[in-house]
């Protein structure tokens, strides 16, 4: 078995094992997450040096078999998932044991995370629409489990709404896939240009797009996301916001690349839905007083920006603009995971997550606030982060095309993100006694290390952007 199939099968098998043997779950989870990171790194290295590779499981090919293709984009996404997963796993392994009340959460976290990991890996490697649908389903179920993990009433309700929205989205996706099959008789990803040519195919594409828009929380189908991401446990929120929503955006990017000039309709729709999400998310992030809600709304806005970037990237055969979108995805994943972990630590320390209560005299801002600030720099897209390089490449391409209204929009989105994130950072620097009764300074913990590590990675990635950008050059020949 090669890395590709191991990347999918190992986490899924481990998830089963962790569910059956809760005592060994944490150890299994950590080892498998580490192993997964090593395999993803190896695969990325191999793709970077020898180019993209395909593998058909058991010799069965599409539409019924499972075929895995690892090109530069897929490899980058695998590495992204592995890195974020590693950070979050360190946080969970280091934090929960000291809180006995959360024992059942701890036991449940690992199988859910491992299933998420396996599903994400399978999704990135899938080369046909039907497999994408199946992996979306596994991912959706695991992600709902993560959402409900904290067990509070709001979390359960958010999980219910998330799952029902997700199922509706999946069903639309399935219908689209089947119509695509009816139209051209195949379901591999190369059929997109052919689909765009016929009326039936365009309906199929539209349905697929609607399904993706639900899952990526694009405007106006974003309603389920802020409650789900803000009520989950911090580690779960980090995974949901940093990784799970990226799955749908990744598929949209994939369709846009494969579709070439034919996917222009899809891209226009993405650009408009992305714009809506960006503005709506930023507006709500500016107004909320709950820190977790602010970060969740920021995810809506940032995913909107990434969708906008995908939508504006144009025909991938004559432009490398889509690479900017991929870089933004990577940067957002690292920074947002860091941010949610940091928010978890801040809330744990203060006993609340109200922004108006972040300033305090006795508890000076510590590592978590610092990690939040670095992640914020990355999300706003200030230098030297990867977010900055991504925006630079994007603006560069848009200037070449003379698309000044889109440039203005991207800059406006940047201003909005600076406005809502500086609300938090400036609060942390403010004096004044606002400590909740339960507030206590907790010693350095794995959560701080994970948040700081991920935030620093997002920062340092800017200086090493050449790595992901070269990796993206590896396309199937």
């Amino acid at each position: 078995m090669s890395e590709t199939s191991l990347l999918v099968s190992l986490p899924l098998v481990a998830a089963l094992f962790a569910a059956l043997a809760p005592k060994a779950a944490a150890m299994t989870g950590l080892i498998v997450t580490l192993g997964n990171a090593a395999m993803a790194g190896l695969l990325a290295h191999r793709v970077g040096t020898t180019g993209a590779a395909s593998e058909a499981l058991g010799g069965w090919t599409a539409p019924l078999g499972i075929e895995f293709t690892a090109d530069g984009l897929a490899a980058l996404m695998l590495v992204m998932t592995a890195l974020v997963g590693l950070g979050v796993s360190v946080q969970v392994a280091g934090t929960y044991p000291r809180e006995p009340c959360a024992a059942h959460q701890r036991a449940a976290f690992w199988p859910l995370w491992l299933a998420t990991l396996g599903a994400m890996n399978a999704l990135f490697l899938s080369a046909d629409l039907f497999n994408l649908y199946v992996t979306f389903e596994i991912l959706g179920l695991a992600a709902v489990g993560l959402t409900a993990l904290s067990g509070t009433r709001t979390a359960l309700r958010a999980a219910f709404d998330y799952l029902s929205a997700g199922l509706a989205g999946s069903l639309l996706l399935l219908l689209g896939v089947a119509l695509a099959y009816a139209a051209v008789g195949r379901v591999d990803l190369e059929i997109v240009p052919a689909l765009a040519a016929s009326a039936e195919g365009r309906i199929a594409l539209g349905l697929i797009f609607a399904g993706l828009a639900v899952k990526a929380a694009l405007f106006p189908l974003h309603f389920w996301m802020p409650p789900a991401h803000s009520s989950a446990a911090p580690a779960a929120s980090a995974l949901l916001s940093a990784l799970v929503v990226k799955a749908a955006i990744y598929v949209a990017l994939r369709l846009s690349i494969e579709g070439g000039a034919g996917a222009e309709m899809l891209r226009a729709a993405l650009a408009f839905a992305g714009t809506g999400a960006m503005l709506w998310g930023a507006w709500h992030a500016l107004r909320t007083d709950r820190l977790k809600l602010l970060v969740a709304h920021s995810t809506v806005a940032q995913v909107g920006l990434i969708a906008l970037a995908v939508g504006l990237s144009g025909d991938a055969t004559d432009s490398t603009l889509w690479q900017a979108a991929a870089l933004l995805m990577l940067s957002h994943a690292l920074a947002k995971a860091a941010m949610f972990l940091a928010v978890g630590r801040i809330a744990e320390e203060l006993g609340h997550d109200r922004i108006s209560g972040l300033n305090r005299q006795d508890l000076r801002p510590g590592a978590a606030e610092f990690a939040f600030a670095i992640a914020a720099i990355s999300i706003i897209g200030l230098p030297p982060t990867a977010g900055f390089v991504g925006k630079w490449v994007l603006l560069d391409g848009l200037i070449d095309r003379g698309a000044w209204h889109w440039i203005a929009l991207v800059l406006f989105g940047t201003v909005l993100s600076a406005a809502y994130l500086s609300r938090v950072v400036s609060r942390c620097l403010r004096g004044g006694p606002h400590v909740a009764p339960g507030a206590r300074r907790v010693a350095w913990r794995a959560g701080d290390v994970a948040a700081l590590g991920l935030a620093t990675a997002a920062l340092a990635l800017g200086l090493a952007s050449a790595l992901p950008l070269t990796l993206l050059e590896a396309t199937p020949t």
């Binding site: 389903e137 009433r153 359960l156 799952l163 199922l167 399935l174 219908l175 089947a178």
Partner: protein
């Protein structure tokens, strides 16, 4: 009116009703029902597209899709019902 058309129209109608119900109703049980109706509508459409009345043959691939869809639907419905039950328990406390 051919049987194919009946399937198409009924399927599309069920999808429409289900989507309308999903977007207007917050009651959990009704939403679960609506999702199931949506799935049935989609299954009908899919099965109808796989059937070629003139050549009187049926393509097995859409049937495989529908089968997978049903498996997924059962799993998700179970998860939704479990969540709904837990929520009810919490409400009683």
């Amino acid at each position: 009116m051919t049987p194919d058309l009946v399937y198409h129209v009924t399927g599309a109608g069920l999808i429409g009703v289900a989507l309308w119900r999903l977007s207007t109703c917050r009651d959990m049980l009704r939403r679960i029902m609506a999702l199931n109706v949506l799935a049935v509508g989609i299954a009908m459409l899919l099965l109808a597209t796989g059937h070629d009345a003139v050549a009187a043959i049926t393509d097995p691939v859409p049937q495989a899709f529908v089968l997978t869809g049903i498996v997924v639907l059962v799993a998700v419905t179970a998860a939704l019902l479990a969540l709904a039950e837990q929520l009810e328990d919490k409400a009683d406390e």
